[in-house]
Amino acid sequence: MAFVASRPEPTLPAPVAAAGVLGWLRQNLFSSPINTLVTIIVLYAIYRIVDPLISWAFINAVWTGTSADACPDGHGACWAFVRARFRQIVYGDYPLDQLWRINVLYAIFAGGLVALMYPRTPGRKWVGLFMLTGFPVVAFLLLVGGVFGLRFVGTNNWGGLMLTLVVAVTAIVGSIPLGLILALGRRSEMKAIRSVSTAFIELWRGVPLIAVLFMASALFPLFTPEGVNFDKLVRTLLAFAIFSSAFMAEVFRGGLQAIPRGQYEAAKSLGIGYWKMMGYVILPQAIRHVIPALVNTCIGIFKETTLVLVIGLTDLLGVIQLGLSDTDWIGGGHIYASGYLFAGLAFWAFTFGMSRYSIHLERHSVSGKNQALQTL
């Protein structure tokens, strides 16, 4: 009698060589002779880079000390330098007994950001509104002082991470509305406004930021009537915001161009005016399109804040550069390397965080939840 199967045979497991860790290794690292060779070369390169790096940064590193004498040889990092300068790195030269003011701001800033990033925060809109309007005012009053019994602290005492964040946040928050206006101007149907906006944008985009900052710091008094002058930091912030707005404008223009004509025509045929059409129909769609580019521009601005050290402001990198030229810390290249590595990690943490967040936003907006829009 013939054999009749009453139920399907159980499937066999995949061969050992194609499944599990071994299979993964074979497929991803050793699929062909060339691939194997590449794997071995890359492994060797990683070994040659990571091994000395670990022994330099951890095993041979010097962690304590008050001057360059503590780390005489270049075989290990000099973290003692970073520790000795840590207060300046975080607070600049802010008066010691007033540091709580910066701490409060750091706390509000961090809290606000976390609340904004977490999609289910109650009253997220209000938090966003506060961060855009109330927070700058609070920050200004707390940092400058001179009111409510707070001691006045001049901007020459500002520095470190605090100054970096002040420059970055002002430039970003200031350049977004200005950039939006410029982008609308460049897309305008009025010829004069269009050419003025285009010329303004291209002029700023064509020159290096360092030249602009140089002008703001050295030439600004020439442009204003006699006796009228602003604080150097204010001039820098102004220059930064205007310069960045040209780049923001190009980002927004990209978004505006991506909106099909039909959207404009539909809005116009409904009899909606220009500003309402932009505010309710075009911009909400356009901004959603450009969120990744917007975040990238913000990352760029954040990195470029380091340029303020060229005109003598001591931001995070400036404080470290200043510390390295201190006679106490004159030493080999390893002290420089330690300082820069630490500064690099600090900047990296911010920028990498921002880029990850932008990727996260992008994924969510693609899934059609309008998540990206809500965050704005």
Partner: protein
Amino acid sequence: MAVETTDDRVRNTSFVFWSSSKYRTKFYEVLVLGLLFASLYWIINNVVTNLNRLGIRTGFGFLKQEAGFDIGQTLVTYNEASSYGSAVLVALLNTVLMSLLAIVFATIIGFVVGVSRLSSNWLLSRAATAYVEIFRNMPLLLQIFFWYFAVLRALPVPRQSIAFFDTIYINNRGIYAPSPVFEPGFGIVIAALVMALGVAIALRRWARVRQSRTGQPFPVLVTSLIIIIGLLLVSAAVAGFPLSWQVPALKGFNYTGGFSVIPELVAMVVALSIYHASFVAEIVRGGVLSVRRGQVEAARAMGLRPGQIMREVIVPQALRVIIPPLSNQYLNLAKSSALAAAIAYPDLMHVLGGAVLAQTGQPIEVMTIVMGTYLAISLLIALFMNWYNRRSSLVER
């Protein structure tokens, strides 16, 4: 009711020119232009008053005067007796040299890393990703400082230079390498090189025509290389190898003779290349990913080899996507080269914003030159890349 509202509207439009969008836009345009000219007038007026008040000279006459300062790296003849004009030229050439070198290296590194990120080898693609994420997310100025202060300035002094084969020396004053000395008879070699290049170009054209007519490919690259190298060797042998090397030698406190590169230039080129390569890598990756899978599958189905698929199918299509953002990146690189002023590499920003400005005391003119030159550089790169972009997009039918 309806009639009344219509009447209202008619009455309103009859005497308010507002309601006509034609007049309204004209009004806005006049308003904006008026504000613009008013503020420009205000600024220029302020500048003129301030310049008069401070007794600052105006005009570009200083360009013909003697500069009186030396520059650390000069590509054309320049000394302290040269004019400010030639100082500007020297600085411009330094900027161009640095930018061009960095563009070349950033492109090479960027293409390698970008393609590596797409490799099927897990380790390689992860390593490339790590490269991009590390260098893209750190400020350029910090990287410049790192290479300059932590690496190059920390090298040993000239007496303890690191030597390679006793011909190339590296120390904290720079890199010293042998320079070629052309002896009489070298003209023959150059003539041979020109001839070989001509033959190679003709060969390429012929091969292309033949392939489009008969479908027969011809190994142009290998043949051209053989012709060029062969002709060079033969001509050099005929002329009796008319080339010798001047090896740098330690004299006094530093090496003299040969070819030297100042550490500022090395730091700038290294930092600019590595930083911008991470962006180029992303652009390249995006470009290659934009070529649809079907293209590769179709090419494979036609029996093309992997190398051919890359050369004939993927690269031409990817380039079209890559070039516009790549040109933008080159622009960024040229502009960010102005950061060289921070480590005192004698570029436009450093020479003009430093010595020239301090000596002439004419900030408006000096900054006009700086800004104008960078604008011109940006424009030139944009024009060139637009031309190239048009040429490469012509591949499309």
